[in-house]
Symmetry: D2
Subunit: 387 residues, 4 copies
Amino acid sequence: MNTLTPDQLTALERQSIELPSWAFGNSGTRFKVYGTPGTPRDPFEKIADAAQVHKHTALAPTVALHIPWDMSDFGDLRKHAEDHGVTLGTINSNTFQDDDYKFGALTHEDAAIRQKAIDHHFECIDVMDATGSRDLKIWLAEGSNYPGQADMRGRQDRLNDSLQKIYARLGDDQRMVLEYKFFEPSFYHTDVPDWGTSYAQVASLGDKALVCLDTGHHAPGTNIEFIVMQLLRLGKLGSFDFNSRFYADDDLIVGAADPFQLFRILFEVIRGDGLNNPDVTFMLDQCHNVEDKIPGQIRSVLNVQEMTARALLVDRDALAAAQRSGDVLAANAVFMDAFYTDARPALAQWRESRGLPADPMAAYAASGYQQKIAADRVGGVQAGWGA
Amino acid sequence: MNTLTPDQLTALERQSIELPSWAFGNSGTRFKVYGTPGTPRDPFEKIADAAQVHKHTALAPTVALHIPWDMSDFGDLRKHAEDHGVTLGTINSNTFQDDDYKFGALTHEDAAIRQKAIDHHFECIDVMDATGSRDLKIWLAEGSNYPGQADMRGRQDRLNDSLQKIYARLGDDQRMVLEYKFFEPSFYHTDVPDWGTSYAQVASLGDKALVCLDTGHHAPGTNIEFIVMQLLRLGKLGSFDFNSRFYADDDLIVGAADPFQLFRILFEVIRGDGLNNPDVTFMLDQCHNVEDKIPGQIRSVLNVQEMTARALLVDRDALAAAQRSGDVLAANAVFMDAFYTDARPALAQWRESRGLPADPMAAYAASGYQQKIAADRVGGVQAGWGA
Amino acid sequence: MNTLTPDQLTALERQSIELPSWAFGNSGTRFKVYGTPGTPRDPFEKIADAAQVHKHTALAPTVALHIPWDMSDFGDLRKHAEDHGVTLGTINSNTFQDDDYKFGALTHEDAAIRQKAIDHHFECIDVMDATGSRDLKIWLAEGSNYPGQADMRGRQDRLNDSLQKIYARLGDDQRMVLEYKFFEPSFYHTDVPDWGTSYAQVASLGDKALVCLDTGHHAPGTNIEFIVMQLLRLGKLGSFDFNSRFYADDDLIVGAADPFQLFRILFEVIRGDGLNNPDVTFMLDQCHNVEDKIPGQIRSVLNVQEMTARALLVDRDALAAAQRSGDVLAANAVFMDAFYTDARPALAQWRESRGLPADPMAAYAASGYQQKIAADRVGGVQAGWGA
Amino acid sequence: MNTLTPDQLTALERQSIELPSWAFGNSGTRFKVYGTPGTPRDPFEKIADAAQVHKHTALAPTVALHIPWDMSDFGDLRKHAEDHGVTLGTINSNTFQDDDYKFGALTHEDAAIRQKAIDHHFECIDVMDATGSRDLKIWLAEGSNYPGQADMRGRQDRLNDSLQKIYARLGDDQRMVLEYKFFEPSFYHTDVPDWGTSYAQVASLGDKALVCLDTGHHAPGTNIEFIVMQLLRLGKLGSFDFNSRFYADDDLIVGAADPFQLFRILFEVIRGDGLNNPDVTFMLDQCHNVEDKIPGQIRSVLNVQEMTARALLVDRDALAAAQRSGDVLAANAVFMDAFYTDARPALAQWRESRGLPADPMAAYAASGYQQKIAADRVGGVQAGWGA
C-alpha cells in the first residue's frame, strides 16, 4: 500500500494547480501588511515568481490574474509567461476597491453603478480573449454591515440580472465561476454567502456558469467535502480556491490547518470524478502574511499533491464492502489507513525519476532565486492588494 | 408608531402557528428526561393540551402529528380535535428510532430497508388522507459518525430515488416538505445538512416538494433571514419549524435566545410575502426540558406574535428611501425603531377587544387546567419520544 | 414599569462611556478602507469630534488615546480636550505595526525586541503622567499563523516577565488592563486568547492589573455575560471594550448585532455592582467602515444607555423569587419583561429635562457640524490606523 | 526519523490511558440508543471488557468508575479487576440524573439539595477509599436553559462553598479534578463552562484540586493545545478526557475527527512535561453510538499512541532553532514532518517484540471474544446511562 501504483502516479502526473498572481505580492490584515525584500513590483515579476513554483514541482503550469491589479499588455504578458514555462489562467474581477462600490456593485441600487460593474466584467472578458483564458471568476464581495442597511431580496434579483448580462457576453468556450463566501468584508449579510445561493444563481444562467468553492469560506464546522460531493453530483463544481483556516477566511497554506480535511475533500473529488477533470479547476487563493511567498506556494502545492496521493491510496473496494456491511470501524480503518500512510518517500523517488528535485522546498532554497530577487528588485512599489 | 394599524391587526389576526403534538410530551437530553405531573399519556391528551394554547391565544388552530408516536384511530382523533376547537395538521414521519435504520433509512445501502422507510411514508400519506392533512414533513435524521463510514454520494442518489417514490404517492392537494439539519443525531455527515441540499433535492421532484426551515438547524453564525429571503424568492419555502438556540439544536422557546433574530426573520417573511401565505406553514418544534409545556408553548406563540407585530411596524417606505440613498445609519434606525417598540400593550388591548385574555400566560395559570391534568392523569405511561 | 424611577435615572445620569479616538479616523477591512469628507487629520480634530458625542448625549466625557497614533503635545491636547468639555482617558499601546514586531513584541524570542516593546509601554506611562490618565490598556496582538511556528509556552513565560516590568513602572494610582482576543491578526494561536489567560497573567502581577473584556473577542457562542459575572466576582474586571459582531471581530456599533446580549451583559454588570463603579471602565472600540463616524458613536452610546435602562428595569425581587422557586417561565418572564420594555420615550423626556436634545441623532444631524468639518478639513492626511 | 529511538519507545511503553467503564455500555443521542448483543449488564462485565483493551494493547491498565452506575461490592470489584489484569481508577460522580437536581446540585438554591449533592461526593470518596482510587472527577452538568432562569453569580459562590466542603473530605493522597464544559445538558449557561472558571475555582481550593480537560468541551475553533500548555504551565492540569468531535460534544473515537489536533495536543503535553507525568491522568470519555464498543476503545488508545509517537518524533532542537530565527516555513516543516511520518510500522514491530499483537484490532477480532459475550450475555438489562 505504501507504494503508489502506475495508475496512481499517472493521475498525480496529470495534476495541475493554478497559482494566484496576487499570492506573490504583499498581503496582511487590516492591522498591518509586512513587506519583504524581493516582492514583485508588476505582473511580469509575479509571473516569474510563479514559474519558480512550477519549475521545482511540475504542479503549477498556470497563473491566475486579477484585474485591475495585473493590467498590462497582455500580449507581452502571455509571451512572458510562455517564456517562463507557464500559461495564463483564470481572470479574477474586482468589485471591492472602487469608492463607487461601497454599497454594492452588481447588486447596487443605482443602475449606473451596476452597469459600471458589468462593464468591468466585460473588460475582464476582453482580457480573457487576449490571454486565452477560459474562466472568469467572480468573487462577490458585496453585502451589508447592519440589519436594515440593505434590501437583501432586491439585491438578489439585481444580482441575477447583472450576471445574466455578463453571462451573455461569454464566448462559446468561456465559463463563469461564482464564488461564495460566508462573511467579510461585509459583517451582516453577504450577497452570495453559501453554495446554495451560488448554485441557485448559476443554475438559472446556463451550462457555462458554475460554482467556485473556496475552502476558507464556510461557517464553522461545515462539512466541506459534502459540498464538494454535492456540487460534483449536480455537475456544477467549476473550480476550487484552496487554502486553509482555523477561524475565518485566514487564507493560510493549503492543508496547514487540517490536513485530514484536505484529504477528505480530495477523496470526494476522486469519488466524484473531479480529479484531472478539465471542468474542475484547482486553484490556490492564499495570503502569505508572515512566511516567504514562493516557498509558501511550493508548500501548498506539495500539500495538495501529498493528500491527493493519500486519497488515491484508499482501497475503494474494501471501503465499499465495509460500508455495505455496516462495519463502521472497518470502513473508517480503510479510510484512515490511507490517510495515515506517508506518501512522501514514494513521491520523492518518483519526482527524481522525472528529473525533478526530490525535495522542491530544499531545491528552491538552494537555487539562490530568493537572494537574487531581493538584490535585483530595488526601488519601485511592491505589489499588494491596492490597484 | 406605537399603535398597530387596522391592516397590521388584520394581518396579526390571520396569523396561524401549528403546534407539535410532541412538545406536550416529555423530552430532554441524552443525559436525562425529566417527567412532570400531568404529562399526556396519548395523542388525545396531547391534543387537549394543545387546544389550551389556542384557547388563550387564538394563534394555534392546528396540531402536527408524529407517526408512529401519535398512531391512533384518526377518525376519532380528528373529531376529538374538532371538539376541542383545533384541527390536525402536518404529518411527521420517523425514520430514526427503528433498529433497522441505524445506518440510514431512505438512503440505506440495502434496498429492503429503503423500501421499509418508503412504505412508512406511504403509511404517513394514508394518515394524511384520514386526517385531512396537507403536508408530509420529512426530517432526514440520516448520516454517519465517522469519515469513511458512509458513501455520501451514493446516499444522495438513493435519497433522491426514495423521495421520488414518495413524491409520486402524494395526492393532488398534498405536499412534501424536506427539513435540513446541520448535525445530530449524526456527528460527521448528515444527508440533508443545509438548505442547498434540501433545495436541490426538492427542486428535482416537482412543485409539491418544498423546503422546511428549522431555525435551530444551522451552523454557528448563519444568517437565517437570508435563507428565508432566498427560499421565498425561489418559491420553495414550504414551512418553518420555529424554536431558538444558543449552541446547537437546543429547541428552546421561540425567540428566547435571540429575539432580534426572530424579528429579522419575520421581517423577511413579510418582505417576501410569506406572512399569512397558505404556502408557508408556521410551525413550532421545541423541547420543554425544564419548563412547563403548555405555558411554554403559549410563550412561544406569543413571542412569534410580538415579533411579527414589531416587524409589521417597520416603516418600509422610509426604509427603502434610506436604503436607496446609502444612508446606513438611517436605514438601520428605521429597522431598529420597529424592533425597539413594545407592541405588547397594543396587542393586549386588541386581544381583549376580541374576547381573549389580555395576558394569556396569566389566564392559563389562573384556569386551573394544569392542576386538573396533574390530578387526573395518574397512571399510564407519560408520552415522550419513544414509540 | 414603563417609567424609570428616580434611583434608576440617577444611575443613568452617572453613566460614563469612554470613546476611542481612533473611531473618528478611517477604518476598514484588509480589502479596502473608505475615506469620508471631514475625517480628522490629527488628534485635536479627533477630540473635537468626540466632544460632539458628549455634547448631544452627556454620556461620553472621556476620550481614549492610542500611542503612537495620537502622539502630540499632551499638555496642549489636554487643554484642547478640556476646552471642548471632555477629558483624556485610557492610553492604548501599539505593538502590532512595527516591522520588528512581526513575530512578537512582549513575547518575542529576542530580548532586544522585547525591551523595545517594554520601552514603548514605559513611554505610554509617561504619556499617562502627562495626560492624567489612569489606565494603560494592552491589547496583545501577538501570536502565530502556523502550528510549530512559535513556542507558545516560552512566549507565555516571556509575556509574564515583560508584563512584570511594565507593571513595576505604574504609578500608585495607575492601572494596567490586559485585553484578550480569540484570533486576528494571528490565525493559529494568540498569546492572550481568552479571559482565563488574561486573568492568570494579571492575577500574578498584583492589584493594579486587571482584565479588559472586548465584547467582540470571543469564540462563537460564548456566553459573555457569564464572563462578566465571573470577572466581577473575582474582582478583576477592569474595563469593557464595547462593540458588536455577527461573525468575528466585526467591531460594529454596540448592540447592533444582538441587543438582547447587550442587555444580558448590562444586567450582570448591575448584578455584580459594576455599574458606575470607578473600577470598571466602559469604553467603546469600534470601526465605522461604512457609516458616518460621529453619529455612529452617538448611536453606540445611546444603545448602551437604552439597554442599561432596560436592565435597570428588571424587577430583581420578583426575579429572585422566581429563581428560588424553580419557576423557569416566571423567571424568564420577569427578565424579558424588562428587555421588551421600550425605555426610549422616558429617556427622551428625561434628556430634555436636563437640557439635552430628546433625540441626539437628530440634534447632531441638525447641528451642521458634519457639513462644517467636511468643508473645513480639506488637505492633509485623514487619520486612520497607520502611524 | 522513521525509527523510534529507545528513549521514545520507553516513553511509549510507560504510556497509560484510563478507560471509562461507561464506554462499554450502551449510549446514544436523545433520539435513540441502539443496543448491541454482548453489552455488559453490570460493572463486572464492563471491567472484563475493558481488560480486553489492555490485553491487546498494554495501554489501558486502569478503568474509571461512575457512581451510582457502577455501585457494587467494591472489594469484589477490585479483586475482579486485578484478576483481569487491570485496576480501578478515577471515581466519577453523577449529579445530573436525580429529579432533585433538575435546577442544580452543588449550585442549587436549596441548601438541602446542595447537601444531598455534597453527600453524594462524600459517598464517592468512600468508594475511592474502597477501590484505592486517587482521583474524584466532578463533571458539573449544572446550568440553565433560559436567560433569567438562574442567578449565575449566586450559583458560582455556592459552587465554591460546596467544593470546599468536598475538598475538605479528601484524603492526603486523594485529588479532585473539576471538568468544564461549554454547553449541554444546559443550553443557556453552564456553571463551569470554560477552563478559566474551573481554574479559578480549583485555585481557590488548594493543591489537591485540579482541572480536567475534556477535548470535546470547547467552543468552535478553540485552540485546545494552548489551554493544555497554559494549564501545565500553571501546574493545574489534573487529567484529560480524550475523545473527538466535529460539532458539539460528539464523544467520538479519539483522533477520529482531527488527528492533527490530537498530535498538537500531545506535542504540548510533551513540551510541558505532562507525558507519563503521574500528576496528569490520560482518560478516555466516549460514546460508541454506532460502532462496536471494545474495538472502538482499542482504536482510541491506538490513536493516542500513534499521535504520541509522532509527537515524540518532532525534532525539538531543529524546531527551536527555526523558531528562534523566525523562519516560519522551516519551523512548520519540522513540526509537520513528524506529523506526516507513519509510526505504525515501527509500533507494530515493537509491539510484537513485547509479546503483543502487531495489529491489536485484528487480534481482538480474531479472538472470538465478541462472539462469546454476544452468546453468553443473554437476558438481564444492558448497561447504559441509566442507573
